[in-house]
């Protein structure tokens, strides 16, 4: 751990921000085209963020501010732990549990800040978001658990590396097909894409947790959202789609997967929150458990099966 690590980390944050925000802008266009609109320019997302950061804002007390800082801090720390195409700012810290639980610090900060605003809509949104998390995380964690058992490693980077060099069929999404499906569905839930977007639920609960934000707080939330998206998509890319041998391969896979979720989201209706829970506990959970049983008791998928 020396100064270089921190410089790398900082550079990584900058890269992730630019990359993901551009991709978001691009996807806004994709969504617009799906809806037969023309859509905004690809850099519109940057403009939105910078505009928000420059505006005046109001605050509802210290926890409202502190929560925002804690959220962004936690999320950025998590980004730093994500291995991108073999690159790690702090080698040896990409344990999958660390990543998935450190992510929770950011979420807790966000929830805290939102609830601290004193607006009941925000609390309702937080409650829904947490419930949603309870729904999608269990099937995903079971699949990841199976993977750790199968490959004897909990390091995201190593798990990604193990899939490389065997062609497309070496990806875990194909070695453990059920698990791959579960992962993509869970990713939809994580990203809050339709049909699992009831915690934001535009036009339903006055935009949920974000209701009280404006100015730099809102700008923080935008940035945070970009980072969070990056963490979530990266996790799936690394664990199920072989990561990337080069940064370009990685970015390509990433862009494809992310756009894919957006396209699916564009044509989906919305689940009520309890419907989402029921759905996750029926289909993906069953698939995850079947996948787990197959892997743990037969070894299929650990050794490539063709």
């Amino acid at each position: 751990m020396n100064a270089m690590n921190f410089i790398y980390a900082f550079l990584m944050l900058v890269f992730v921000f630019i990359f993901q925000t551009s991709l978001t802008g691009f996807n806004r266009k994709v969504t617009a085209r799906l809806q037969k609109r023309y859509g905004a320019r690809w850099y519109q997302q940057f403009l939105d963020i910078f505009k928000a950061m420059r505006k005046d804002s109001t605050t509802h007390g210290w926890v409202f501010d502190f929560g925002v800082i804690m959220a962004l801090g936690g999320i950025m720390a998590t980004v730093i732990f994500i291995p991108v195409a073999g690159f790690r700012a702090f080698p040896g810290t990409d344990n999958v549990f660390v990543i998935s639980y450190l992510l929770a610090v950011g979420m807790l900060g966000m929830a805290m800040s939102a609830a601290g605003s004193g607006n009941p809509w925000a609390s309702i949104g937080v409650g829904r978001a947490l419930t949603n998390m309870l729904a999608y995380d269990i099937p995903l964690m079971i699949v990841i658990f199976t993977m750790i058992f199968a490959f004897d490693s909990a390091s995201v980077g190593e798990l990604a590396k193990m899939q490389q060099g065997m062609g497309i069929l070496g990806w875990n999404a194909f070695r453990m097909p059920l698990g791959g499906i579960v992962a993509v569905i869970a990713l939809m839930g994580m990203l809050g894409k339709k049909p699992f977007d009831s915690f934001i639920a535009p036009a339903e609960i006055a935009s949920g947790p974000m209701v009280e934000y404006g100015g730099k707080h809102l700008g923080f939330m935008f940035i945070l959202h970009e980072f969070m998206t990056f963490i979530e998509v990266s996790l799936i890319i690394n664990l199920f789609f072989g990561g990337g041998a080069t940064i370009w391969e990685y970015m390509l896979k990433y862009a494809v997967l992310y756009t894919f979720t957006n396209i699916v989201s564009g044509v989906m209706p919305r689940f009520k929150i309890d419907q989402a829970v029921k759905y996750f506990y029926r289909v993906p959970l069953a698939m995850a458990i079947i996948q787990g049983i197959v892997v743990i008791f037969t070894g299929l998928g650990v050794t490539i099966w063709f």
Binding site: M1, F6, D56, T58, T59, G61, V63, D65, V68, I69, M70, L72, G73, G74, M76, A77, I80, F81, F90, G92, T93, N95, F97, V98, Y101, L102, A104, V105, L108, A111, A115, G116, G118, N119, P120, W121, S123, V126, L130, T131, L134, F145, T146, I148, F149, D152, S153, A154, S155, V211, E212, G215, F220, I273, D274, V277, K278, G292, I293, I296
Partner: protein, 609 residues
């Protein structure tokens, strides 16, 4: 200072505290602080005499590092909570009795952890049970003490049966010898294992014995709930530990059918732990009372501890042992902060409070850190232990147990956030606008516990070194520790680095935040309300049925308490029947019954011979 002296002195201090309390109850309560701190320091200093044996009356003690570790956790909970005692004397019906029993039960726990033979173990165990039952009744519910006692008694009696059975089989009460000799009787060993662990399960609050926790933790005096959840529950963990180590469960059941390397009897117990995680989590999510919610969270965390301990391996076992400390610290801190809030507001119902953060910011931070640890989020201690347990489970491929463990872990985000949001965040109720932070004397233990939570999270190896010592003393391969890193088969964790990176991220965000224009402070009521005017603070606070959509999914789930009710009704029915048959005013019936007895006796005698 040896153990006998510690036990005798604490008992003596208990008596003195009783007498002093008769004169001045606050002074008596101060004695509990002195007594428990004394015990904490004295036991800490016992480190050097580990391995010695000692006898008091007919009790035999054996100073093991395991006992030392458990005792420190327990005394930590007792001594920190004791700081609250002086402030609650007014609410107690028997302040003197409370102070006496507080210290007596503490002395009792020492005996449990250092017991060399079963008689000692059981005697001290029961002392703790009944002294705490008498404390619980002083709280908000008489039913609570009753339920607590009955469930404890079910466990204790099962354990007594196991003890005597083992004694009948091997002819000794010395724990290691009595259990060690069971290898030759695998059939009996199963019965003994299952019944022996029952007391531990009842104490930790493992399904189906978990029903007492919400009653007792929820309704005990606010100053005793932290001890119950942070301390006494861990006594159960100790018994669970004994049943896999002293009992050599893995050795005795080694030849039996097993599931992924876990012999079935042990796997069954682990499954109960897993059920407790699920039940505890689901029930905690729907509680309306902050203390009851934390009580159910203890059920879930008890499940983790049990699973960890029962694995008895390099990693998961260390996680279980570590979780004992972490949960004790976190849950004591959480209960204490709720108690502090209750001290000011007089209630623990979440829907009757809100926005306390603006009145009691330090208490809020204490609660925040406690729940971060409890939910297993880095950089607090709870994460480290849960990480170890997950790694252990993944190593063994215990899929179903792991699934519940994940469920409990994510579910804990839901329930720990509820008091945070309902009690501390949101709108401050008009009634509470003039409330103040509690005094220094009450803040001190809370801050100490918070620092401990951080310490276990950032430098877990300080604690894990003791854990490795325990593992070595029990003949288990100790968990591998590098300088700051914990190494397991399938991954490693550098908690300090995680903390530093987190700090780095936080620093960037902080700089970014203050670099932008300062924001304007507005009133809490000044929020977006879709252009409606709402002037009642209480109406703008969302706290009741927080997770209503989710709760609806399992509202019809059966209640375990009904099972016990049914059993009680059945016993009453038998009693009614006996009374109706045997007792009456007319002698004729009794005479007839007597004749019948003779007749049946003759027939039975004839048939049998």
């Amino acid at each position: 200072m040896n153990l006998n002296l510690i036990i005798i002195i604490t008992t003596a201090v208990a008596l003195v505290a009783y007498l002093v309390s008769k004169v001045n109850d606050k002074a008596g309560a101060a004695m509990t602080v002195v007594g428990s701190l004394f015990a904490l320091i004295a036991v800490f200093l016992l480190r050097d005499s580990i391995g010695t044996e000692i006898t008091l009356l007919y009790f035999n003690f054996n100073l093991t590092v395991t006992g030392w570790y458990f005792a420190l956790v327990m005394l930590m909970a007792y001594s920190m909570t004791a700081f609250f005692n002086p402030f609650w004397m007014k609410k107690l019906i028997y302040p003197a009795g409370y102070n006496f029993l507080y210290l007596l039960s503490m002395a009792g726990t020492l005996g449990v952890f250092f017991a060399k033979d079963f008689i000692t173990l059981f005697v001290f165990w029961e002392t703790v049970v009944w002294s705490s039952a008498f404390i619980i009744q002083m709280g908000k519910s008489r039913q609570a003490a009753y339920v607590y006692y009955v469930i404890s008694a079910i466990g204790s009696m099962a354990t007594l049966f196991a003890i005597m059975f083992a004694y009948g089989t091997t002819g000794t009460f010395v724990i290691n010898d009595a259990f060690g000799g069971l290898a030759a009787y695998p059939g009996r060993a199963i019965v003994i294992f299952v019944t022996f662990i029952a007391a531990g399960m009842a104490k930790i609050g493992i399904f189906p014995f978990h029903v007492w926790l919400p009653f007792a933790h929820g309704s005990a005096p606010h100053t005793f709930s932290p001890v119950l959840s942070g301390g006494l529950v861990k006594m159960g963990a100790f018994v669970a530990l004994l049943s896999v180590t002293a009992f050599p469960a893995y050795k005795i059941f080694g030849g039996m059918a097993s599931f992924r390397g876990i012999p079935l009897p042990i796997y069954f117990m682990m499954a109960l732990g897993a059920i407790s995680i699920v039940v505890g989590t689901l029930m905690a999510i729907k509680q309306e009372d902050a203390k009851k919610l934390l009580a159910y969270s203890s059920v879930a965390n008890g499940g983790y501890i049990l699973i960890g301990l029962l694995m008895l391996d390099q990693v998961g076992f260390a996680g279980g042992l570590m979780h004992i400390v972490n949960h004790a610290v976190a849950s004591a801190a959480a209960f204490l902060s709720i108690a502090a809030v209750a001290y000011r507001t007089g209630t623990t119902k979440m829907s009757e409070m809100g926005g306390m953060i603006h009145r009691m910011p330090i208490t809020y931070v204490v609660y925040l850190i406690a729940i971060i640890s409890m939910a297993g989020i880095p950089p607090m201690g709870g994460f480290v232990s849960k990480w170890l347990i997950f790694q252990g489970l993944a190593d063994k491929g215990l899929l179903f147990i792991a699934a519940t463990a994940f469920f409990g872990s994510i579910g804990s985000f839901l329930y720990v956030f509820r008091p945070l949001s309902a009690v501390f965040l949101g709108q401050t109720f008009t009634r509470d606008l003039n409330k103040k932070e509690v005094g220094v004397f009450m803040l001190f233990p809370m801050v100490v516990l918070t620092l401990l939570s951080l310490l276990t999270g950032i430098f877990p190896n300080i604690f894990l070194r003791v854990v490795t010592e325990i593992q070595t003393s029990l003949g288990v391969l100790p968990v591998t520790l590098a300088e700051n890193t914990i190494v397991t088969n399938n991954g490693f964790l550098d908690a300090f680095k995680v903390f530093i990176v987190f700090g780095f991220g936080f620093a960037i965000a902080f700089v970014l935040f203050i670099a932008r224009r300062k924001s304007r402070r507005v009133e809490l009521m000044d929020t977006y309300t879709s252009a409606e005017f709402i002037h009642t603070r209480e109406l703008l606070h969302y706290s009741h049925s927080f997770y209503a959509p989710f709760e609806r999914l399992y509202e019809k789930a059966p209640d375990t308490m009904k099972l016990y009710h049914k059993a009680a009704v059945k016993i009453s029915e038998i009693g009614n029947f006996a009374e109706a048959i045997f007792f009456g005013i007319k002698p004729a019936r009794t005479v007839l019954l007597v004749m019948g007895t003779v007749l049946i006796g003759i027939i039975a005698g004839g048939v049998l011979s």
